[in-house]
Each structure stands twice: as structure tokens, then as C-alpha cells.
């Protein structure tokens, strides 16, 4: 198979999505008909449920029933990646989200999956449909999906998994994701109602699972990308951590756990009992535990086949060598936006003039040139280019670099030349990338240069940071999508969300956009109006959108690395998991070194 050029098009040159795309992505009326639209031979696509038929993305160029002609033999179909050992504690999304290694979630199938063009296609569900007002969604499971312990995958596995997620004793770290969305989830997590009363229940038979939502949720099928179930039987027999031990491990996904040596490596091998439709060439996956700082060394030493997030100097080394440059890919990741945020309820940031002043002294062009390079693009607003309802051009002037205006605004706020302005502490979450550190340091220098404001940077461990985020006066954080819909990204800014900023008009618009029956263009306009309020009220100074760099060994090939509809070639989010496509669209070529372990 011919290798594709590493980078087809940079995200900042990505054209606006055309109207047809958005109609496909946004039409809620179609979404409610999704189930009936799904037919044999088609994979339904679309963020708001299943829409126009879309070809299943797979190894279409491969030989039927076997490995491709240019593939290495099965014993060399090994993928080696690395992961931070300080994070890895569990392997399941519904156990703990922020304690999983870099490659997890391959032991069961979510109801829906995501293609590299961010289209929703069936996963464990063959079809789904919503009621007229979009508050009740019924998913029909494919029959014959089996757990490795011989039990069949049924709706009960999904129901039990969601009940476990809502269990306050479990203290799931991602509970906010379903709070206020699935009926009674918030109440159950607070211990006010039994978990059996949440809006996830068995349907008419063992293959139907029904979701009830608090409000119309046309985006629910997209959001159910995160629906990889735990085994109800294993939960009962071994408890929730059954997947951390090969002896108690149970899988209905394409891989099973062979070995987990703490702080050394996790080994996944093919699950012979897998009966799903993922056509995977890889036979073995080795996740080596290694500090992020050592990834490039491992990559150079051919100890791993794939890595993300190189340090700036490492990227320069790769770019300088034509052979290495061919191993370089750049994607859009999860459309994450990184930004400086304020506690707008506390002085001095309760004054919008101060916040506006801060927003006009960030020189994104200089940062782009000197810090970010290809690893990020400037973010004049919150929604990244390519993400639905993004309006970076229309909002580009709101927080434009204009230090003179910044000084005027600060003077108007009562701090001419920064006089009388309190010294600040900018709270930085631990574990930030070099790009983040340099960006934050540069912005602090710009505050001093342009506004004569002194700020020092205090690093806080990640857990404390997220626990205390709503009370941090001035901080730095990121947010990337959990599902491909503006209601997800903008929803974090709604009142009661992750920041204390509150705006009734914004709340109403996001709510309207999330539940609206309007046509696609109108819905986009609603979300764009909401984002304009957000950007103009400056609860945050937007810095950059991540465009993650990946290094992929030349012998790792397959459709996953071919350009997507926007001509971007990379392993797209969510990467190597059953939620995404990469596992079945990559294989090891015949010219790979043998004996890779």
C-alpha cells in the first residue's frame, strides 16, 4: 500500500464545512427517523443520530478473509505504544475515565462508533430511534455478540453499566457527563433515588436498551459513543475491577487482556471469542509504561511504533529529516481549545473592562510563530475550525491583539498603567505539555509588558485543580469534545458548569440549540449567537486549538492514515479504541522488523 503524504492540509486552511455536511450533521428531524433509515448494507451516519447512508469505513482494500498482501504475518501484527505509568490504574471508561492508560476501552463495544470523518455509525447497536420529542431513545443490539466467558451481550449489560456509573459509592469521575441529561442520573448520583430509577432500562426484549432524557436530546446517539459496557455477570461475580486481572478479565471486544505488569506493560491479544464486526488485522498490542518525556527516545530506538505529542525540539528533529518527516502526521484531535479563564464573580475579574483588557494583550501571531508551530493554531474563539458552528472568522476581532486598547480598557477600569492592580497568581494544572507551559509563560510576560501586571504561575496537581477549578481566580485549562456537537462544547459554559461565569441569554441559546427542531442552518446560527456572547463577555481568553502531531512508523499502514474528507491524514480521535476506527484500519506491513516486543 502506498503511503500517503503526512499532512494533506493544515487545520487552519480547512475550508468551512459545506451546507450539505451540516445538513447531514444537524438535521434533528432526520435523526428521529434514524432507526428506520438504517438498512442492510448501510452504516448510519450523522451526529444527531443516523442520517444518510455512509459506507462503512474498513479495510476495503484488503483481501477477503485474511491479511492484506503487503501485510506482515500474523505473529508480527504487533502494535507497540507507550503510556504514562502514573495514570494507568483501570482499563474501562465506566470504571474511572482519568485513570486509564493511553490505550484502553477495547474490551466491549459501544452502541455507536465514530468514523474518521466524525460520523456516527452502528457499534453494538444495529439501529436506534427516538420518540417524537426526542426524550426516549431505543437502541437495538446486534444479536450474537458474546463475552469471552460465554455469556451473550445483552441490554442488561448496558443497563447495569449505567447504573454502576450513577452509583454514588462508585464516585465515577465522569458523572457530570450524564448528569442533567439521562433522567434521574443526577438524583441517583446524589443518593436521592435508587440507581434502578435512572433513565436507562431494558426495552421489549434482551436486545433493546431504552434511554430516557431530562429534555429533548437529539444528540444522544452521538453522545452514546461513550457506552462501552461492563459485563453484568463479571460485575456480579468479581466486582468492578474484574478487568484489571487477566484471571477475572472478560471481553466482548476484539482484544483481551493477556498481561498487566504494573509500571511495566500491558499486553492485549486477540479475543478468539469475539463475534463482532470489527475486522482487525493486529494480533497483539503492547502498551509500555514510560514517562511522556521518554516517548521520543523509545520511538527513535524502535521500541514503540506510534507516539503523540512530541516536544518541540523532537518535532524539529523529525521535520529536518525527510525520512523521518514522512512518519509525521497531524490531526485535529478532539478539537480541544486551550484558554485562560477568570473567576468573573471575584475582583478584579468581576469587571468586564479588566477581562477585555486581558484579552487584547495576547499576541497569538507571535505565539504561533515562536511557540506553537504546527502543534496548534490560534484560537480567537472557543469552537475550533471544522467543529460544527465554529465561527473563528466572525469572532476574530473580538479578542484581537491590540495592546493599546488593552491599556485604555485597564485605565478605564481604574488601573492606569497597571497601578493599583493586585499581583496575580495564574494557576496551571500539573502535567501540562511544553507547549502549554511556554504559552502560559509567554502570556504572563505579555501581561507584564503591555499592562504592567505581575502574575506568577503556580502549578497545582491535576486532581486538585479540577476539584477546585470553579474557585480558581485566574487559571489555564483546556476542553475538547466528548461528542461532535456544539451543545457539548458550549454546554460546559452553561450556568452551574465548570466555570462560575453565568449568562442567562447564553444559557437559553444553548438550551434552544440543543433541543431545537429547527433546520441545520438555523441551529448553527443559534449556537453561533451563543458563542458570540461567550467570546464577547470574556470569561476566558482563548489561546489555541490543538492540532496534535503523531509519529507513526513507516511499517504501520492502512486506511486510518489515508486522508479524511477534509484531506487530513492522521489517526483521528478517539484513536485506538472500539469507539473509533483506527484499530481495524491499521496493520503492520511485511517490511516491518520481526521480533518486535
Amino acid at each position: 500500500m502506498t503511503r500517503q503524504p503526512a499532512l494533506k492540509r493544515h487545520i487552519d486552511t480547512m475550508p468551512p464545512r459545506d451546507a450539505a455536511f451540516f445538513r447531514q450533521q444537524f438535521s434533528r428531524r432526520d435523526a428521529l427517523r434514524a432507526g428506520s433509515a438504517v438498512g442492510a448494507g448501510f452504516a448510519a451516519a450523522g451526529v444527531f443520530g443516523a442520517l444518510a447512508p455512509t459506507a462503512v469505513v474498513g479495510r476495503s482494500s484488503l483481501q477477503d478473509g485474511g491479511l492484506p498482501e503487503d501485510a506482515a504475518p500474523p505473529e508480527n501484527q504487533v502494535l507497540r505504544v507507550a503510556s504514562d505509568p502514573t495514570i494507568a490504574r483501570v482499563l474501562d471508561f465506566y470504571e474511572q475515565v482519568y485513570e486509564r492508560p493511553g490505550l484502553a476501552d477495547i474490551f466491549s463495544m459501544p452502541l455507536v462508533r465514530l468514523t474518521k470523518n466524525f460520523e456516527i455509525v452502528p457499534g453494538a447497536a444495529s439501529e436506534w430511534s427516538g420518540n417524537d420529542d426526542g426524550t426516549v431513545w431505543t437502541f437495538t443490539l446486534k444479536q450474537g455478540l458474546m463475552w469471552s466467558d460465554g455469556n451473550e451481550v445483552t441490554a442488561n449489560d448496558y443497563v447495569r453499566t449505567f447504573q454502576y456509573a450513577a452509583d454514588p459509592e462508585h464516585a465515577w469521575d465522569f458523572a457530570w457527563f450524564w448528569s442533567g441529561n439521562i433522567l434521574n442520573f443526577t438524583e441517583a448520583f446524589a443518593g436521592d433515588v435508587p440507581v434502578e430509577e435512572i433513565g436507562v432500562r431494558m426495552g421489549a426484549n434482551d436486545y433493546e436498551v431504552v434511554f430516557e432524557t431530562v429534555a429533548p436530546a437529539p444528540y444522544l446517539p452521538a453522545k452514546l459513543l461513550y457506552s462501552q459496557p461492563l459485563s453484568a455477570a463479571a460485575l456480579d461475580e468479581y466486582g468492578p475491577l474484574y478487568n484489571t486481572n487477566p484471571d477475572t478479565h472478560v471481553s466482548s471486544g476484539p482484544f483481551k487482556l493477556e498481561e498487566w505488569v504494573r509500571d511495566q506493560q500491558i499486553v492485549y491479544t486477540r479475543n478468539e471469542a469475539y463475534t463482532g464486526d470489527m475486522d482487525v488485522a493486529l494480533q497483539r498490542i503492547i502498551v509500555k509504561m514510560a514517562s511522556p518525556a521518554t516517548l521520543f527516545t523509545l520511538y527513535e530506538a524502535d521500541q514503540i511504533d506510534y507516539m503523540e505529542g512530541p516536544a518541540p525540539a523532537e518535532l524539529q528533529i523529525m521535520e529536518a529529516d525527510p525520512d523521518l518527516a514522512a512518519q509525521l502526521y497531524q490531526g485535529v484531535g478532539d478539537f480541544a481549545c486551550l484558554y485562560f479563564f477568570f473567576d468573573v464573580t471575584t475582583a478584579p475579574f468581576d469587571d468586564i473592562l479588566v477581562r477585555q483588557a486581558f484579552s487584547h494583550v495576547i499576541d497569538r501571531d507571535a505565539m504561533q510563530q515562536q511557540i506553537w508551530g504546527r502543534q496548534a493554531v490560534a484560537a480567537p474563539s472557543f469552537l475550533a475550525p471544522g467543529f460544527p458552528a465554529s465561527d473563528t472568522e466572525g469572532l476574530g476581532d473580538v479578542q484581537a491583539f491590540d495592546p493599546e486598547l488593552g491599556r485604555e480598557l485597564l485605565a478605564e477600569a481604574g488601573y492606569p498603567d497597571g497601578e493599583g492592580f493586585p499581583d496575580l497568581t495564574l494557576t496551571f494544572r500539573g502535567g501540562g505539555t511544553p507547549l502549554e507551559e511556554a504559552t502560559v509563560q509567554a502570556y504572563v510576560a505579555m501581561l507584564n509588558e503591555h499592562l504592567s501586571i505581575n502574575a506568577d504561575i503556580q502549578t497545582m496537581d491535576r486532581q486538585s485543580f479540577y476539584d477546585d477549578m470553579s474557585s480558581i481566580l485566574f487559571g489555564w485549562v483546556s476542553y475538547g469534545m466528548d461528542f461532535f456537537d456544539p451543545s457539548n462544547m458550549l454546554g460546559v459554559w452553561q450556568s452551574g458548569g465548570r466555570h462560575p461565569w453565568s449568562n442567562e441569554e447564553f444559557d437559553a441559546l444553548v438550551e434552544e440549540g440543543s433541543t431545537s427542531l429547527a433546520e441545520a442552518d438555523e441551529r448553527i446560527a443559534i449556537f453561533q449567537n451563543a458563542e458570540r456572547i461567550l467570546v464577547e463577555d470574556v470569561p476566558a481568553v482563548w489561546a489555541y486549538f490543538v492540532t496534535p502531531i503523531q509519529f507513526v512508523k513507516p511499517y504501520l499502514i492502512g486506511p486510518a492514515l489515508e486522508p479524511d474528507n477534509n484531506d487530513i491524514a492522521a489517526v483521528h480521535w478517539p484513536g485506538f479504541a472500539t469507539t473509533g476506527h483506527a484499530l481495524e484500519e491499521l496493520y503492520v506491513s511485511a517490511d516491518a522488523p520481526t521480533g518486535r516486543e
Binding site: 518525556a293 516536544a311 518541540p312 524539529q316 528533529i317 511556554a438 509567554a442 506568577d456 504561575i457
Partner: protein
């Protein structure tokens, strides 16, 4: 016949090689000066003190000043030590980093002295339950790895230069306390102490007037050697990202920050590492020299 007068006596003493009595300090200084490494260390420390504490006057720019468009310059010309990833003049950053290290080193050891010396004195002088209690505290604290305990404290009280000084100070007083206790246990049995006690001197009076002056030499040595240890602890904490807060320069943080860039921008790691090494060497040489000079019995 001339009578020999007393005025001729000094000449006679001189002829006989008899000299004015010299102080212990004089002999200590003489011993110190004879040690080449100690003198090299003194020169290094003096140089670093001038460079660090003179940074506000001597450095080319303010340490907060950065020109992003000049980022990642290699050493030479306008920037003798180059610039860092956001355009700070690196010579300025290294000078202020030395200043930070020295401030932390001196202040943290001062905190350690304030805690360790009184506790050691109390244990050594009073004995009994006081000694028992102090020694148990020391043993308990010794059981905690110093750096891990410091990390724990920083996590609880937060980073920043004041907190770092406090944390390093309260985790490094053990040696001083033990040393002071051991000195007093020896000295308190001396005849002159018994004499003072028989004349009605109080414990405090005996401690301050008789014991402390005699115990001070090894303590000075310990203090001198504690300074580079404290500086290294600060560099370690800052390297881990929980030490001095940016934009205040810290050599340890500079080394840490250089890691992702060092394969191309070598100067970002080299100069702060050299500075740390010089500080460690300088103070260690001086400390060793002082030990040999003040307490020759250990030689």
C-alpha cells in the same frame, strides 16, 4: 657596668622565637588559607554571591522581560547565553536563578537553625524526657524520605519561594539538632561546666556563655554544608514543577523546562546545570575547608 634593662627583653624573646599569643580564629584562618580547594570554593562562592545578589544591578534586563520574537536564540552577540523558549535573556535568567538559589539556600538553612539548634540544645542540656522527646521526633522525621516529605508539604501548602524556604527548612533541621545535642552531651561533662554550675549559673547561662561557643565550630561546618543541600533540594522541587513559581527564575525549573528542547537548544540545559554545579562545588569546598580549619581533630 651596664645594667640590662627590661626594654631589651622583647628583642630577646624575638631572638628566642617567642610570639604574641594568637587566637583560635587566627589559626583556623591560616589552616583554611592553606587548603587550595577551599580557596577555590571561596572564590566561586564570592563570584556567585556577586552575580546572584548583584543581579538586579548587573543583569542585562529584568527577569520578567521577554521578547517572544527573539525566542530560542543561541549564545552569542546580543545574548551572551542565548534566549529561552519565550525570549527571556538567558544570562539574566541564570543570574536571577543563582540569586533565587542563594536566597533559598541561606533562608532555608536559617529556618533549619532556628528549629534544630534550640531543640538540639534542649535535648543535650536537659536530658531526660526532653532528650527522649526530641530524639523520638528526630527519629520519626528521619523515617520519612526528605524529598518525599517536602513534596507532601508543598502539595499541602502550595509552591512559591516563601513556602519552599519553609518546607526545606523544616525538613533539614535534623542534622543540626543531632549535632548540637551530641556536642552538648560531651561538653556538659567538662570541668568548666561543673564549675559554672557550682557557682550558681543557670542552664540558659551555661548554654549561652559556655557551651554554645565551644560547640559552634562543627555547627558552622554543618551549616555551610547544609546550604548546597538546601539549594539542591530547591532545584529538585522546582525540577518537579512544585518549587519556585514562574516567572521567578529557578535553576532547577530552568533545567526541567529545557528537557523538551535540549536536543537542539543545548544552552537551555547547559548553563543552569553549570550554575547549580558551581554552587554545589563552591559551598562544598568551603564547607570541607571550614571543617578542616575549625575542627582539625576530625582530620
Amino acid at each position: 657596668m651596664a645594667i640590662t634593662t627590661t626594654s631589651s627583653l622583647p628583642n630577646a624573646e624575638a631572638r628566642l622565637g617567642v610570639q604574641e599569643p594568637r587566637s583560635a580564629m587566627h589559626y583556623a584562618l591560616r589552616r583554611f588559607r592553606r587548603q587550595r580547594l577551599a580557596m577555590v570554593g571561596l572564590v566561586i562562592v564570592t563570584f556567585l554571591l556577586i552575580l546572584g545578589f548583584g543581579a538586579p544591578l548587573l543583569a542585562p534586563t529584568d527577569y520578567r522581560e521577554a521578547s517572544l520574537m527573539d525566542a530560542n536564540r543561541f549564545p552569542g552577540g546580543e545574548f551572551p547565553l542565548g534566549t529561552d523558549t519565550i525570549g527571556h535573556d538567558f544570562l539574566t535568567r541564570v543570574m536571577f536563578g543563582i540569586r533565587t538559589s542563594l536566597m533559598v539556600g541561606f533562608a532555608a538553612v536559617a529556618v533549619a537553625c532556628l528549629v534544630g539548634i534550640p531543640l538540639g540544645m534542649a535535648a543535650g542540656l536537659r536530658g531526660g524526657w526532653t532528650d527522649f522527646a526530641v530524639m523520638r521526633i528526630i527519629e520519626i522525621m528521619t523515617a520519612f524520605p526528605g524529598l518525599l516529605f517536602a513534596i507532601f508539604l508543598v502539595t499541602v501548602i502550595g509552591s512559591g519561594i516563601g513556602n519552599i524556604i519553609f518546607v526545606i527548612g523544616v525538613t533539614s533541621w535534623l542534622t543540626l539538632a543531632r549535632l548540637m545535642r551530641a556536642q552538648l552531651l560531651t561538653l556538659r561533662e567538662q570541668d568548666y561546666v561543673s564549675a559554672a554550675r557550682s557557682m550558681g549559673a543557670t542552664d540558659l547561662n551555661i548554654a549561652v556563655r559556655h557551651l554554645l561557643p565551644n560547640a559552634v565550630a562543627p555547627v558552622i561546618v554543618a551549616i555551610t554544608l547544609a546550604i548546597p543541600t538546601a539549594i539542591f533540594a530547591e532545584a529538585g522541587l522546582s525540577y518537579l514543577g512544585i518549587g519556585i513559581n514562574e516567572p521567578t527564575p529557578s535553576l532547577g525549573k530552568m533545567v526541567s523546562d529545557s528537557a523538551p528542547y535540549i536536543r537542539i537548544y543545548w544552552h537551555l540545559g547547559l548553563f543552569p546545570t553549570l550554575a547549580i554545579a558551581l554552587i554545589m562545588l563552591g559551598f562544598s569546598f568551603v564547607g570541607d575547608g571550614l571543617r578542616d580549619a575549625l575542627d582539625p581533630r576530625q582530620n
